[in-house]
């Protein structure tokens, strides 16, 4: 069953179409990879889906209901949450407080939120950093904090915007394992990533964007063998 349906979504900035007539859907429990060259409109699409920019045209349906006109906070409450390509820790608050603020989307009790937050910190392996200031974490741990905070809102669909960007291979591997572990729990994910090896490993399906348009969609194998994708993005070495 499709948990997210994107139909004919366009987003214009002035005369520029950052997304043009993009349609695809994400199956429940699967990982959808979203790739494409810089400026292809991947992050713009995330912003449309999560309510930061309303789509200029088209409709996005999540869990059976239209998201048109909904603000990001409502969309989070419905069960869809995103992380940020450029991490956005609440710098002067502790790591635990950051994740608690995510958890407070589902409870009014600070104690309950603290419990939920500790669980998620353990999931991403940051439990020993709980009392540190979020602003003082190194980049690898900030990325994990983004994920823990998003998970604490108890989403049905997690949108990860380049969580491996700027990480060394060992850290990337930890994130890959984390994404796969989250999938094991049945959570649907949509992942923007530039690291082709990683995205091929984790994705069930992949959508390729180019100049705002959908260039191709399919399983990782189908996508790498697609001549358009090779020409526009991958280059010959991947083919």
């Amino acid at each position: 069953m499709a948990i997210l349906e994107i139909s004919h979504v366009s987003r214009f900035f002035g005369g520029l179409a950052a997304n043009a007539d993009v349609s695809f859907s994400v199956e429940e429990g699967r990982i959808m990879g979203l790739i494409g060259p810089n400026g292809a409109g991947k992050t713009t699409l995330f912003n449309c889906i999560t309510g930061y920019y309303p789509p200029s045209r088209g409709e996005i349906r999540f869990d059976g209901r239209s998201l048109n006109g909904l603000q990001p906070d409502r969309i989070c409450k419905l069960g869809m949450v995103r992380t940020w390509q450029k991490v956005r820790p609440l710098a002067k608050l502790s790591v635990l407080d950051n994740v608690m603020i995510g958890a407070l989307a589902r409870t009014h009790s600070l104690n309950k939120a603290r419990e939920l937050a500790m669980v998620q910190l353990t999931v991403v392996g940051l439990e020993r950093r709980a009392d540190f200031l979020a602003g003082g974490l190194p980049i690898g741990e900030r990325k994990k904090l983004e994920v823990a905070r998003a998970l604490a809102t108890q989403p049905k669909l997690l949108l990860l915007d380049e969580v491996m960007g700027g990480l060394n291979p060992a850290e990337s591997e930890e994130i890959i394992q984390l994404i796969l572990a989250i999938k094991q729990q049945g959570l649907t994910q949509m992942v923007i990533e530039h690291d082709m090896k990683a995205i091929m490993r984790i994705s069930d399906r992949i959508v390729v964007l180019n100049s705002g348009e959908k260039l191709a969609e399919g399983t990782p194998e189908e996508v790498v063998s697609n001549q358009d994708v090779v020409d526009a993005y991958l280059g010959e070495s991947h083919a």
Partner: protein, 349 residues
């Protein structure tokens, strides 16, 4: 253990403050303490919106003025005693806050600051020109405040001494401290801080930012209005510049900035430092002290110069000191103290 220590310390200070008027009869010191309480309450009220939510309003005079005006207008034209008038002020301030919030919170950062100034200026000009309601630039004089009675017993007679104002001021300071504590230890406080740190991130985590900013503003406005009512009755007079001027807004903000924004004790420390400092500079206590210590002789040129001019320059000196504090303690007194203790802890470890 640390919590118990804090509580004990708090109770000792509180006990001292409650006993203060019995030990010190001097009306001067009583007055000084009342002004400190007022500043604590003002700073703490601003702190909820400016410190925790990071919405730096430079127009809190609007709510301060509303409280002062509503209470004194009701007292003078309707003979409604101030302990009822203060609540009317709160109601009006919250309504004003709702209107201002609906308009200004569409704006972020410097635009919000400018809008907050504009609103306070509109209020000041309105108060100056709506002569029928506010008596214009002449202001309103509170002639006599009825004494507060419980049955037949007079609980507080405001005409004899300042002691009732002392306890009401103390109560107001404690009230704002209590509210700020409650906010800081609740979902509201966490959400306000999330908004302060990063609005977009907060929005993505399910926080309806406009609604929570409005909650913060309403609480802040209600408390600020109460401080305005207290000030109006205590001074016995309001006119537009004393309660609605831009300098009132800045003063409220400074208490919090100097003390430490977004901390529970910041406004307290800010008030304890700023009010006596302003008072000492105004009354030229600095020159007296220098003379007493023997640093300057009163007959020397320097001594005479200081005596002549220092009190005239009190606003200038105050301003320079504020700039120095902001430059060297950007996170206020509380921030500087924290850094100091953190360093010491590291040295010990």
């Amino acid at each position: 253990m640390r919590a118990a220590l804090k509580l004990t310390l708090f109770l000792i200070v509180l006990g001292g403050l409650v006993a203060f008027p019995r030990m010190v009869q001097s009306p001067y010191f009583l007055q000084l303490m009342i002004l400190v309480f007022l500043a604590v309450a003002q700073g703490q009220s601003w702190n909820i919106l400016g410190g925790y939510a990071g919405q730096h309003s430079v127009g809190h005079a609007a709510y301060f003025g509303v409280g002062a005006y509503v209470t004194l207008i009701l007292l003078q034209s309707r003979q409604i005693p101030p302990w009822w008038g203060i609540w009317a002020g709160v109601v009006v301030a919250v309504i004003v806050a709702l209107i201002i919030g609906a308009i200004c919170f569409r704006l972020r950062g410097p635009y919000f600051v400018l809008a907050s100034i504009a609103v306070a200026e509109i209020m000041r000009l309105s108060a100056t020109n709506l002569k029928g309601l506010t008596n214009g630039a002449e202001g309103i004089l509170a002639t006599d405040i009825p004494s507060l009675r419980w049955g037949e017993r007079v609980v507080a007679d405001f005409s004899i001494s300042k002691v009732p104002f002392y306890y009401i001021g103390l109560g107001l300071a404690l009230l704002t401290l209590g509210v700020a504590w409650g906010v800081a230890h609740s979902k509201l406080g966490y959400y306000l801080q999330a908004i302060r740190e990063d609005q977009d991130a907060a929005h993505s985590l399910g926080i309806p930012i406009a609604r929570y900013k409005n909650y913060g503003l309403m609480i802040s406005a209600a408390l600020t209005s109460m401080t305005g009512s207290f000030f109006g009755v205590f001074v016995g007079f309001v006119d537009p510049p004393t309660v609605l001027g831009l300098d009132v807004s800045v003063q409220i903000m400074l208490i919090c900035i100097i003390g430490g924004m977004g901390t529970l004790y910041g406004p307290v420390l800010g008030a304890v430092v700023l009010v006596p400092l302003a008072e000492a500079l105004r009354s030229n206590a600095v020159t007296d002290l220098l003379v007493k210590v023997g640093a300057v002789s009163p007959e020397s040129k320097v001594g005479l110069f200081l005596k002549e001019n220092l009190s005239h320059a009190h606003v200038l000196i105050y301003g320079i000191l504020v700039v120095l504090v902001i430059l060297f303690m950007p996170e206020g007194i509380v921030g500087a103290l924290r850094k100091l203790t953190a360093r010491r802890r590291r040295e010990v470890a």
